[in-house]
């Protein structure tokens, strides 16, 4: 809690409201002014999260909570927001990714108003979801995010986008219905009928064991679909292949983290779920290898990057399943790193597609010749994915595999091989299509200053959190 002598600014609430204000500005002002104002509000929302982080560090606690009046007294739903170390990292990442997507994702400069307003709506929902103090708000923000993302996939993107968007919607709604059922069951089986996450964490052992099992199954299914991990991952590659650059950045950068965050919460809320951790770890390992092998047969850059998301998210599931301090910190840091990295890769891949009109690695040659920024940015993204030291992913991977080693002994580091396979293939892709200069594909378009700014910002974030990970990790040790 913040000290009394500090000025009380409702940073968390502001971080949710500001993107919505930006949305209003975008709708009511002229194109140019509206777009500038939207960017300003989106950025201010990120600054609010940093402000909340500052309060938390200055006051020596590892969380900031804000509580307002009752939202729905009849259901005892409070309007309470709470940022703990995990949600600090994730909402900071989601805010920056949304800001960069707004700034530079729209290489084609089509439907800027529509895309911008959907991004801002999504940003508000992501900020709200990570800061939600109770499951009712969590569910509301979850569904708002899914609907915003659906329209983004459906209205913006390439020719076959409708089918992919429909697939996305069906998978995600199935997940959200599982989630709804689980939330309602938790509400009725806790003694005081509460949605409050802190209360549930303290009192979940009072729920009958059979019901706990059922709730765990529903929550696990919901978050597994969203993450996505092996048996229910099919929506992700299609959605990414057809999505616009902005859509891809937010989808992999922020939306898949909803599931990761929810999975961490599930393990916190239901301690009995640790009895399944070995099975979950096996599933995660299998999923990582599966995605890595499928990845090697894919030729579209965006699809390749999409499959790396599945590999990474499987490894994060492994970290969550390992159920120790290192694992949770690793999962959080891994998601933070992955959010920045994957949006950078998608931004570079989208810009490549825009510049050369081609995303197939069998055709694309010599990107470095005509678009060296994009080529080297993609290279940096690949370095960051494979966990080269000084990038944020390195810290994440070290923590994850140390946690897995602690929990599952040597079996825990088997997925490292999948990560290496992914890395190998990505270097092969880079070498073959981006860096070779024997033949050169001709540009049809060029990228602008806003794309370069986006590259810089994301690369800066990747290295900043790679060099100074203690900003987030210190919070875990308070």
């Amino acid at each position: 809690m913040a000290n009394d002598n500090m000025i009380q600014i409702p940073f968390i609430a502001l971080s949710i409201v500001l993107p919505l204000l930006g949305l209003t500005c975008l709708a009511y002002f002229q194109d140019y002014l509206g777009r500038r104002l939207a960017l300003v509000f989106s950025g201010l929302s990120v600054i609010c999260i940093i402000g909340a982080l500052y309060i938390s560090i200055a006051s020596g606690t590892n969380f900031v909570a804000e509580q307002y009046s009752y939202y729905i007294p009849a259901l005892s739903v409070l309007l309470n927001l709470r940022l703990d170390p995990i949600s600090f990292a994730l909402s900071l990442m989601a805010g920056i990714v949304a800001f960069v997507a707004l700034l530079s994702g729209n290489t084609e400069q089509e439907h800027e108003k529509l895309a911008g307003s959907l991004i801002l709506l999504f940003q508000a929902s992501a900020m709200g979801l990570f800061a939600a103090g109770n499951l009712f708000l969590f569910f509301i923000f979850w569904d708002v995010g899914v609907v915003a993302m659906f329209f983004m996939l459906y209205m913006l993107g390439s020719a076959n986008r409708r089918r992919a968007a429909m697939k996305f919607l069906l998978y995600e709604l199935l997940a959200s219905l599982f989630l709804l059922l689980a939330i309602m069951m938790i509400y009725f089986y806790t003694p005081l009928h509460s949605f409050d996450i802190q209360y549930i964490i303290q009192n979940s052992q009072l729920i009958p064991t059979g019901t706990q099992l059922l709730i765990f199954f529903f929550l696990f299914a919901a978050f597994l679909i969203n993450m996505p991990v092996f048996p229910v991952h099919l929506w992700l590659p299609d959605a990414h292949t057809e999505a616009s650059t902005q859509g891809s950045m937010l989808l992999s950068g922020a939306l898949t983290k909803f599931g990761g965050y929810g999975m961490i919460l599930t393990f916190f809320m239901l301690p009995m779920s640790s009895q399944f951790s070995v099975f979950i770890a096996i599933l995660a390992t299998f999923s990582a290898f599966y995605a890595a092998f499928v990845l090697m047969t894919v030729r579209d850059i965006k699809r390749i990057v999409a499959y790396t998301t599945i590999v990474e998210m499987s490894i994060i599931l492994l970290a969550i399943a390992s159920q120790n301090g290192l694992g949770i910190a690793g999962a959080t840091f891994g998601m933070l790193a992955h959010g920045f990295t994957i949006s950078l890769l998608f931004l570079a891949a989208g810009s490549t597609g825009h510049m050369f009109g081609e995303r197939d690695i069998r055709v694309l040659r010599g990107v470095v010749k005509n678009a060296f920024e994009t080529a080297y940015t993609f290279l940096t993204g690949v370095f960051a994915t494979t966990g080269v030291p000084l990038t944020a992913a390195f810290i994440g991977d070290v923590l994850i595999f140390m946690g897995a080693l602690q929990a599952f002994s040597l079996f825990g580091i088997i997925p490292l091989i999948a990560l290496l396979l992914t890395g190998t293939y990505l270097y092969y892709v880079i070498n073959k299509s981006f860096l070779s200069t024997k033949e050169v594909t001709q540009n049809i378009n060029y990228i602008g200053a806003s794309q370069r700014a986006g590259y810089l910002l994301l690369i800066a974030c990747i290295f900043f959190f790679g060099i100074a990970p203690f900003i987030i990790l210190n919070l875990f040790n308070v």
Binding site: I72, A74, R162, M166, L177, L181, M184, F188
Partner: protein, 471 residues
């Protein structure tokens, strides 16, 4: 009986005279035939009804007028709700009805029936009220010309069967209480009396299921909904169906309260089959009006979940969902009616609607997202309350099936949304002022009460709890 202050009594007089004024204006409308005057007068009198009823609601008195009517929170809530719905239908029909003056006369009878059922304190009042609602509706369809005879006759026959079943059910209860008051006590003393009451219960449920469009009795619904002009479809789906639920609440939870475990079981079955029937049939529809007819059947199934729980919480959830669905479906059918006049009927015609009229496409999308149960819209809160009610009454399988149904329904709602937002450039469609007014009202209510549902939840739970008072 509770002593009532004079000021409350005055408010009751204001309420009753406003209702009388509404009916009177409708009856004398054919004498002056001034459309604008009639619209103003009837809307003003309905607003007076709302004001009078809300004053009495907050005072929470319990008045029994000649033992036919009772004024208590439950009745006042529905008087307010139906007045708002009647205002919307009135605005909608002003430009679109073929003969607004005659429709307005019919609407005044319908309104009288609605208020009678809402405030009923006797089974006879319920019977008369249901008749007053359904039969003028059939005539109102007929007013539009020869093309509508089929729908009108179908509705008339179904209404007649339903009403006769209710009448028979009432007759069976006559030996127990010759006054037929809702507060009658059903004794379990002799087995004959119990069997007769059970038979009467079944007949009530069957008779009212015709109007409530619960499964085996709803095969007429798509034909009549699709065959009637749009503003009457809005009336049928938004008002006539809801009044049957109000009558069911009054009969089941006041008169038949001792049999609650029996009818709860019955309604579990009815809710499940109705939801599945509506949702699965809607998936294969091509005509959008028919699609929404089936969707409103499935919504009736969701509302029936509250009856299946047979708890005060479940009833209040049902009442909330009734209010939510009323605004969603009136707004939806307002748009569908307006598009039908522009010859936009099938899913194929809906392609590219967003480019032709952005507001219509956006608001229809919001209505459908609300029907799916997307937060933060009113439909989500309604469904959430219903499902939590089912779980709290230990009906987890029912809640799971209902959630599966919500998932199935996404398919056909998404089909319409996707059609509207697909790219196909065609000429713009000019908006209609009265349709837009109705859509705006519904839209604002759905979004506001979705984001901040607490006031309505409080009101519905007071209403649900007050049902016990009457016994």
């Amino acid at each position: 009986m509770v002593q009532i202050a004079l000021s409350v009594m005055e408010n009751v007089y204001i309420l009753l005279s406003a209702i009388s004024a509404f009916v009177l204006f409708g009856v004398i409308a054919p004498l002056h035939k001034r459309k604008k005057l009639q619209l103003t007068l009837s809307t003003l009198s309905l607003i007076m009804v709302v004001i009078g009823a809300s004053y009495v609601f907050t005072a929470s008195p319990f008045v029994s007028t000649v033992s036919l009517f009772a004024i208590y929170p439950f009745s006042m809530f529905f008087v307010i709700l139906f007045s708002i719905a009647l205002i919307l239908i009135n605005i909608l029909s002003y430009r679109n009805a073929k003969d607004y003056i005659q429709f307005s006369t019919m609407l005044s009878f319908i309104g009288l029936g609605l208020f009678a059922v809402s405030m009923a304190n006797s089974l006879i009042t319920i019977l008369l009220g249901i008749e007053l609602v359904t039969i003028p509706t059939a005539f109102a369809i007929l007013l539009n010309g020869k093309n509508y005879v089929e729908a009108a006759v179908k509705l008339f026959i179904m209404a007649a069967i339903g009403v006769s079943m209710i009448a028979f059910a009432i007759v069976l209860l006559f030996p127990l209480d010759p006054q037929l008051s809702l507060s009658m006590t059903i004794s379990n003393s002799s087995s004959t009396a119990t069997y007769l009451s059970l038979l009467s219960l079944l007949l009530f449920i069957a008779g009212l299921s015709f109007d409530a469009s619960l499964f085996p009795f709803n095969l007429w619904v798509p034909d009549v909904y699709a065959g009637a002009p749009g503003y009457i479809t809005a009336l049928l789906a938004g008002v006539n169906k809801k009044i049957a639920f109000v009558a069911l609440f009054e009969i089941l939870f006041i008169v038949m309260a001792p049999f609650s475990s029996t009818f709860a079981l019955l309604f579990q079955g009815l809710a499940i089959v109705t939801m599945f029937f509506g949702n699965i049939a809607a998936m294969i529809q091509d005509n959008v009006k028919r699609l929404f007819a089936y969707s409103s059947i499935s919504q009736a199934g969701y509302i029936a979940i509250g009856l299946a729980t047979a708890t005060a919480y479940g009833i209040s959830a049902s009442i909330f969902q009734i209010a939510a669905h009323m605004f969603m479906i009136i707004g939806t059918f307002a748009i569908v009616m307006w598009l039908e006049q522009k010859n936009v009927k099938t899913l194929n015609d809906y392609n590219g609607l967003s480019a032709r009229n952005g507001f219509a496409a956006l608001s229809l999308t919001v209505f459908m997202l609300s029907m799916i149960g997307m937060p933060p819209l009113m439909g989500f809160v309604g469904k959430f309350l219903l499902f939590t009610g089912a779980i709290s009454a230990n009906l987890l399988p029912l809640a799971v099936l209902a959630i599966i149904n919500s998932f199935i329904s996404v398919y056909y709602y998404a089909k319409v949304i996707l059609a509207m937002y697909s790219k196909r450039e065609r000429e713009a469609l000019p908006a209609d002022a009265s349709v837009n007014a109705v859509v705006w009202i519904c839209l604002i209510l759905i979004v506001l009460l979705g984001i901040y549902p607490q006031p309505l939840i409080t009101i519905t739970s007071i209403s649900a709890a007050s049902l016990q008072l009457l016994h």
